[in-house]
Assembly symmetry: C2
Homo-oligomer: 235 residues x 2
Amino acid sequence: MKNIIIASTSTIHGSGYLDYILDDLTILFKGIKDILFIPYARPSGISHDEYTKIVNTAFSKIDKTATGIHTYENPIEAIKKAKAIFIGGGNTFVLTNQLYKNDLIHTLQAVVKNGTPYLGTSAGSNICGLTINTTNDMPIVYPPSFKALGFVPFNINPHYLDPNKSSKHMGETRETRIKEFHNFNTQPVIGIREGSWLHVKDYSIILKGDLTARVFEYNKVPYEVKPGTELNQLK
Amino acid sequence: MKNIIIASTSTIHGSGYLDYILDDLTILFKGIKDILFIPYARPSGISHDEYTKIVNTAFSKIDKTATGIHTYENPIEAIKKAKAIFIGGGNTFVLTNQLYKNDLIHTLQAVVKNGTPYLGTSAGSNICGLTINTTNDMPIVYPPSFKALGFVPFNINPHYLDPNKSSKHMGETRETRIKEFHNFNTQPVIGIREGSWLHVKDYSIILKGDLTARVFEYNKVPYEVKPGTELNQLK
């Protein structure tokens, strides 16, 4: 019954917030007017109200509205009653911490498994994987656990970046970081480039957008998969 | 009694491991032949033995040797008896996790406070701050705490990078990430560029190397400090 979009980013360079994916959101949110928005990741530290306003500006282009979960007295009940859910980007540690603090993990898992459409971008996509161990974000708060929602049986690396061969910077490349992850963990990791997303529909997981994605499996050489590839065999 | 070098990186572009800082290490390790090396951060997942070998190759240029802490039966005793200590780079989460697992935090704090010379590079520098909340690394393991050694009364951001204005990537700049940190934490953060280091000597903390560093104080506009600047008033 799952119906999920796991997007690398909310925004691609030179374009407005969510613009590149609005057509697909019309399909994901078909027949639904109001979407429950979870602004906990707080990009650049903006308030939940300010963040919800940005989402509403984008959603108005496809005749949808967003209501922030922070405006409900009982966030668990808000999730149970939601027709659709969007968790936006920002900081994955802040987001995860807040989901645990409000005891929302199990409720989110239950409703999305039962068919409530879900959109995640960036941090909101990271948490769709098994754990947040492959986030790119700075660990500015200490969440009670790195375990995430597990909507897919692998980990997500959003905003995936290829090594910049002309760089003189000595910090690790993204590929090196994910290889280091596999010294301590065995689940696959999908590096999703900006402009790509995964569409999860029941038992099918398909790469969408124009770009290839990079798959890192334990003890295997990383490889690229093309748009349209079914990824449900990965685990 | 403190005598500490907190270096942004072990290696600058186009140069060998530790080469740029060997002259200063000769002074830091004056009169000391063998240095206790803590290889727990495991860059690229290499073994503790392999990592110690790399350090010994560099140290041989200044007639020093490194012995890996993993070769001692009792790591706490090894730290207590060490004439000098070097913690190398790699992954800050892996390093922190291993320090907690082996119960080494308090012993490290005690011996370094009492004058055992300490060299940290990259991850080994991150842990010299109050917490590891400003690391750039991927959180590939979950340590029991983000609290670090607190050799200095602020946080460190090694491998500090200026925003790349020509980039089309939508991930956060380093400056944005540190500003987000200050939405949840109040201690200052020093962004140390590759090739720079802090020299902590008793109560003095001085920026060394050729480059400026970027200081982020809570509720202030970030600013640059020149090499030679005393930073001991920051807290």
